[in-house]
Symmetry: C2
Subunit: 217 residues, 2 copies
């Protein structure tokens, strides 16, 4: 078996797919916690996550030494570690740009607050929407955006507007100093290297299924 | 450089991350086509896609031999090949289960039809919603679901309901013979091996950003 040093290499290099699996493992661990289980094997995590136990051990080994050979992982310890690794021990302040259908769906998404993502406000340019509330969250005038960021220090911005204006909005976000952006606009956006932009593209998700259907055996 | 045989191995084994990059390359190629460019280098594709030219060549090599050394790729040929590989040459029939905010946002998402994903109907159990239209798409009684699938043969189902009922809905989908499912419910679902279930989890997308913010240098 390939060995990893306990001093993790530059964590920055961890692949997005690894981080995604950590999120999935954490969900299983929390489910096990809820059921009162105290230990779990890499095989069980692998089976639930649709991967291999070698992959589970490799994913976790990036971040240190977990579990004991033959004893498996302690459920509360590993879930606490994963929450720490994923940065979920603190509350993150999030702003959403765009009060359309996607912005509204995100604002009412209960899963965010459960995970410590606190949505401060939704921004829009439409005077008919500004001032209204979405699930207790205010729709604010986009003209206030820069001043609000200065006062409230959100760490994450979500772009939920059509493709056309998205790069301009991202440039405004970047200038405020926000370093993490989730982009729902169906266009590729360009940001400085120190800003992380994650894209959620609904058509691309369906393309993954189209690929799977086309390449079935 | 590692060599790949032109006879691709079982395509089924292609990683989800590879398929995602193919979707991204296709978007760049279509943009290049729109600008009238006829060739593109692996370096240019890599630069735009935030990856390496070796990765681009490796991704494409799974599916055959593209491009000529020193000449790059033909933009129309490569984009046609990628559309074929991704199964985008045909129209896919899609049904959405759940006419809530996410279901409604998906029904009105223009990017689907542009890509050949034809949304046949949205299903719900709420009598107040049944019969209404969403962007020209009918909200139908979920009790009709099985009969409709038999008559209309959708290939892809999207689950856009809360977590509680999601497994039961997936079981119904599976029994109709649909083999591809996009799941927006924030729970892990279990399906037979011949059914592809792709999960879109908004909280997990934000966790990827939380990880990036937490592990900055």
């Amino acid at each position: 078996m390939k060995e990893f040093t306990s001093h993790a290499p530059a964590v920055k290099r961890i692949a997005e797919s690894t981080v995604r699996r950590l999120s999935i493992y954490l969900r299983f661990l929390e489910e096990f916690e809820g059921r009162g289980l105290s230990t779990v094997s890499s095989e069980e995590l692998a089976r639930r996550g649709g991967t291999t136990s070698a992959q589970v051990r490799k994913d976790l080994s990036f971040f240190g030494s977990f579990g004991k050979r033959g004893l498996g992982y302690s459920v509360p310890e590993l879930s606490a570690s994963l929450r720490e690794i994923l940065g979920l021990e603190k509350e993150w302040r999030v702003v959403i740009i765009g009060a359309g259908k996607i912005g509204a769906a995100l604002a009412q998404y209960r899963g965010f607050r459960q995970r410590g993502f606190n949505i401060l406000a939704v921004y829009d340019t439409n005077p008919e929407k500004i001032g209204r509330m979405l699930e207790g969250i205010e729709i604010r005038d986009m003209r206030r955006f820069e001043a609000d960021v200065k006062a409230e220090h959100p760490e994450i911005a979500v772009i939920a507007i059509p493709g056309e204006g998205a790069q301009e909005v991202l440039d405004r976000i970047v200038r405020t100093g926000i370093k993490a952006v989730l982009n729902f606009a169906p266009v590729q956006l360009h940001a400085p290297a120190d800003v992380t932009v994650k894209a959620v593209n609904m058509a691309m998700e369906l393309e993954g299924l189209s690929f799977a259907l086309t390449n079935r055996e």
